[in-house]
Amino acid sequence: MPAFDSTDLGDIQQLREDNHNALEGLVERHQTRALRTAYLICGDPDEAADIAQDAFLRAMEKIAQFDPSRPFAPWFMRIVVNLALKRCLTQARAYSLEGGETIWEEILASPQVGPEEETSRRILRERVREALRRLPPRERAALVMRYYLDMPEAEISRELGGPLGTVKWWLHRAKARLRAETALAGWAERKGKG
């Protein structure tokens, strides 16, 4: 994770001086993580792109509130998480099942990996997606913040407005669910490899 980059500071300074083009550098450096984080919470790639774009614009608007003595990435990712969570609750249809089907032609045509490996990988992804889909939005956000963004539990508790004990319980439950789903995928993998 790009936790601290002195280039960020230069761009941030320019943004504070109303040079909007400086946003480009921040987008370039943080877009991948922003996009993936948004996707993991909202479950829709297009929606995730929209959320990430929103987050950059929101960060620019609030750049005066950013403390330059601290790294930019965690501050920015909190904006991404909050926007994704809000959108998720808005849509009330997080995690579409569309796009989950295996494209066999594509697997068979891929020269890089064998169909069994690719199939196993897809099964695993499907399981992870399914496990995420079944989590309530706030628990999903907690999971992503803890295990994808490596945020401390206390900070997650503050961000999501839930007691620390509740956050710990969410994480335990989410992890158990993922463990169960991926264990099944592992079984499928072993079975596939015969």
Partner: protein, 443 residues
């Protein structure tokens, strides 16, 4: 599972779904330029509005200070408070169906009102709130009660489909409670008048939607969106919101008509696996089932009053015939009654009807077989009886001794049978009586 591996799983999924080379900057720049233009326009409007206010203030001062001005002001005032027939007619709106400013309400179509409160059981809710919490006496097949929570002067009960793709929310206010934003529908909505008990109800099929590239909510009507049934009783607002496949006006009406302040919720999970067809688990007539199966089904000559054979199904795998007898044939959408499963046994083959296994099954544990299986007899044949069903939970499943779901299985030399109740209060004696009335010798 290690943290590193969890990170890897999540990153792999997100990378696969979002692509690794997506450049957001062109879109961000386009939006940024639009935003800058809008800000400039807003500033111009603000300046113009400020100038307008200043001019208006001068006019008002002029009107108040001069006699001509006071006369003119009086004329203008009377024009606005006229009550003659030329005043535009007010378009009548359905009771309390409102289209609130959703953006002002937090921009989330009211779903933030369903904040992620911990869910409570029905009994807990009833002991906590100062008004009577109504609950359905029956739950449509395929739905399970997840729990409920209190939101200001409201109680919300959540029912989800087994696959989590659909849900029904029952939102009920305390006396004099106002509607939640969540329950809002557009003034443009097509409202159908219905009856829930003695109360007039309104039904709407539609939802406020905000697409990814839009800033405003718009009202969308039609099937496969959201269905809302709403009525007022004893100064309390009741709203049923249903989403997902299988939710229909008829289901919401049946659900609404079964509300009671007594007793417990009837759990009807797990839904019996449909033997043929997903939409209608019992689509065949008796003759069709028998023809498909190649044998005559054994039927009971004794059944409780009101029970009626509604249909059947045939499961080729295992060659199982299943017949559905409804306790409430007038409410066909409610899966409340009795199923009879039967299979002709061939020598040397295993009985395909599953044996009873009670206990708990979870992520962190192996199945724990426990609970009480009552050994009994149907005529000369040994039989087993259990009370309850499997209840799905976050971390697995456990056996729930639900008295509204009972099972009796037995096996003769030639056939295996299982009677299962779904939301019907039939106990061991009842099931034994039904079983005894079945002609065991039929082939």
């Amino acid at each position: 599972m290690g943290t590193d591996r969890l990170f890897m799983y999540l990153d792999d999924l997100a990378a696969a779904e979002t692509g690794s080379s997506k450049d957001l900057w062109p879109d961000v720049r386009t939006r940024l330029e639009k935003q800058i233009q809008m800000t400039a326009r807003k500033q111009r409007i603000t300046r113009a509005a400020a100038a307008g206010v200043a001019v208006l203030a001068l006019i008002i001062i002029g009107l108040v200070l001069t006699p001509q001005g006071r006369v003119l002001a009086g004329t203008v005032y009377r024009f606005f408070i006229r009550t003659d027939h030329l005043a535009p007619a007010v378009k009548p709106q359905p009771t309390r169906w409102i289209a609130p400013d959703l953006n002002q309400a937090g921009g989330d179509a009211g779903y933030s009102e369903l904040s992620m409160n911990a869910l409570s059981s029905l009994d807990e809710l009833r002991s906590r709130v100062p008004f009577t919490v109504m609950a359905p006496a029956v739950v449509p097949a395929g739905y399970r009660f997840q729990g409920g929570f209190q939101e200001e002067n409201h109680v919300v009960l959540q029912f989800a489909q087994e696959d989590d793709l659909g849900f029904i929310l029952l939102i009920q206010s305390g006396p004099g409670g106002k509607a939640l934003t969540l329950t809002a529908v557009s003034e443009e909505a097509t409202v159908e008048s219905l009856q829930v008990g003695e109360n007039r109800a309104e039904f709407v099929s539609g939802v406020f939607i905000r697409k990814a590239d839009e800033t405003e909510f718009s009202w969308m009507e039609g099937e496969a969106v959201q269905q809302t049934l709403r009525w007022e009783a004893n100064r309390r607002m009741f709203t049923l919101i249903g989403r997902g496949e299988g939710v229909s006006k008829e289901i919401l009406l049946a659900f609404a008509n079964s509300l009671t302040d007594q007793g417990k919720l009837v759990q009807v999970l797990p839904t019996p696996a449909p033997l043929s067809g997903v939409e209608e688990p019992f689509p065949l007539r008796l003759e069709e089932v028998e023809k498909t199966a190649g044998f005559a089904a054994v039927l009971p000559s004794e059944l409780p009053d009101s029970y009626q054979l509604m249909g059947g199904a045939y499961q080729p795998e295992g060659k199982v015939v299943e017949l559905w007898f409804s306790e409430r044939p007038e409410e066909p959408v409610l899966r409340q009654g009795l199923t009879i499963r039967q299979v002709v046994l061939t020598e040397g083959e295993v009985n395909p009807l599953p044996r009873f296994v009670l206990g708990t099954y979870g992520v962190d544990q192996s199945p724990q077989v426990q609970g009480e299986i009552t050994e009994t007899r149907v005529g000369e044949w040994p039989a087993q009886y259990v009370v309850g069903t499997w209840q799905l939970e976050e971390t697995g499943a456990k056996w729930l001794a639900d008295p509204w779901m009972t099972r009796l299985r037995w096996q003769t030399d030639t056939r295996a049978f299982q009677l299962s109740t779904w939301g019907a209060k039939l106990e061991l004696d009842d099931l034994l009586r039904i079983a005894a009335s079945m002609d065991q010798g039929a082939e």
